[in-house]
Symmetry: C2
Subunit: 265 residues, 2 copies
Amino acid sequence: SSNASQKKKPQTYKERASTCTNPLVQQLYKIMNLKKSNLALSVDLQNSQQILQTVDKLGPHLCIVKTHVDIIEDFSPQFTTSLRDLAAKHNFLIFEDRKFGDIGKTVKSQYEGGIYKISSWADIVNAHPVPGDGVIKGLKEAATGTNKGCLLVAEMSSAGSLAKSDYTKGAIKMAEDHKDFVIGFICQSRLIDDYNFVHMTPGVKLSEGGDSLGQQYKTPEEAILKRGADVIIVGSGILATDDPVQAAIQYKEAGYKAYEESLKN
Amino acid sequence: SSNASQKKKPQTYKERASTCTNPLVQQLYKIMNLKKSNLALSVDLQNSQQILQTVDKLGPHLCIVKTHVDIIEDFSPQFTTSLRDLAAKHNFLIFEDRKFGDIGKTVKSQYEGGIYKISSWADIVNAHPVPGDGVIKGLKEAATGTNKGCLLVAEMSSAGSLAKSDYTKGAIKMAEDHKDFVIGFICQSRLIDDYNFVHMTPGVKLSEGGDSLGQQYKTPEEAILKRGADVIIVGSGILATDDPVQAAIQYKEAGYKAYEESLKN
């Protein structure tokens, strides 16, 4: 994008932690600096114990654990307590990938209420900007006084996505209008030259390709160096291997190396 | 829209039930004809018993009951069993307003799995078209061999919605490409002159106005006669009154009168 070509000198995670204003964003960059990791694990498993065991093993290598709480077959409030314990133990943030997409009044209830009470345990959630900025206002009302943040889904990795051109511009506008709560984007390219907005890119895999339902993969290098991602989100690339710990280390190192390379630009 | 101005002679619900090809759409028009109702109730309550009692009272006047299962504080599988019993007793369809918005693999798990097992009890769900048609393919895989359908959220009632122009056109294209599973739209205007696609309009209230989080209301007459809705979705207009049964009858009659008026066009 034109923003990317005019960008300022790249900052290290440490520098970003001290220049960014949102406390949650600061915390994330501190973790990324400390753990030398820009790796978010998408832990799309359906059993609580399996998720907790996986996160306990891979936790040392992750800056973020991304959940889909609504695919877990044996969910209980104890699960989220245990997950928060692991977040404290291994120093990562929890990102519930709920993709809220309703009017403000509804998403407020979905975020704080129901069985899942997402606002009580997730540091980060995300939302589709399609309803207009009421979706952000609704979530924000449920998060008042807490250290929570929201990512806007500005671009998607799936084939034929409608999140492009004017839609993506609308997402950027909403983010800028709600800097106190919107901490970044789910995206496929650099959208704003401002480290207060963390750019997270899903669909990352060491080998490119796709799945039968439209997912399209890119490598850590492509995500970070070509597309300007701050955080890479990896799921099956780590979990669908014989040695997930080794795979996580491999992605962490590939991601960190690409980040170091990006500082030279 | 240009489609609306070129539209064919309006069909009665009875005629639509016999000309439409999707069995779920046929069933809906049969219910609408039999009960003289195009009224969907948005039952945004947070207590199971309260929802079931409300639905049992208002059921005779509704063609659809629309739920947000993830705002219910005391959800249990028994709740959905009881809701299905009420659907059989009062002859309405159940529409879980989940607004799926993820890649195909994920929405498939969200639809059939987790605590809610939505595909086991909801006749209708909806999805944002933003991920591309993988979202439809994923849901469809979970619904194979059952009489289920999906609405695409093509337009929204909230202020500043990004669901417009090319986005809405993209939704229409996806619907036409997946006629076996997409049974219509959540919309604010008539999008296709084809009764196989049921147009459902939320944000309907006898008095116009809005809420503090961006919702914008319109009357049943405006939704049906000006905007071409087949089904009106009413929530607080019925539930936030002293006599919800009386209010439901009022909306049912206003909606049916507008439908009869629309047949004269």
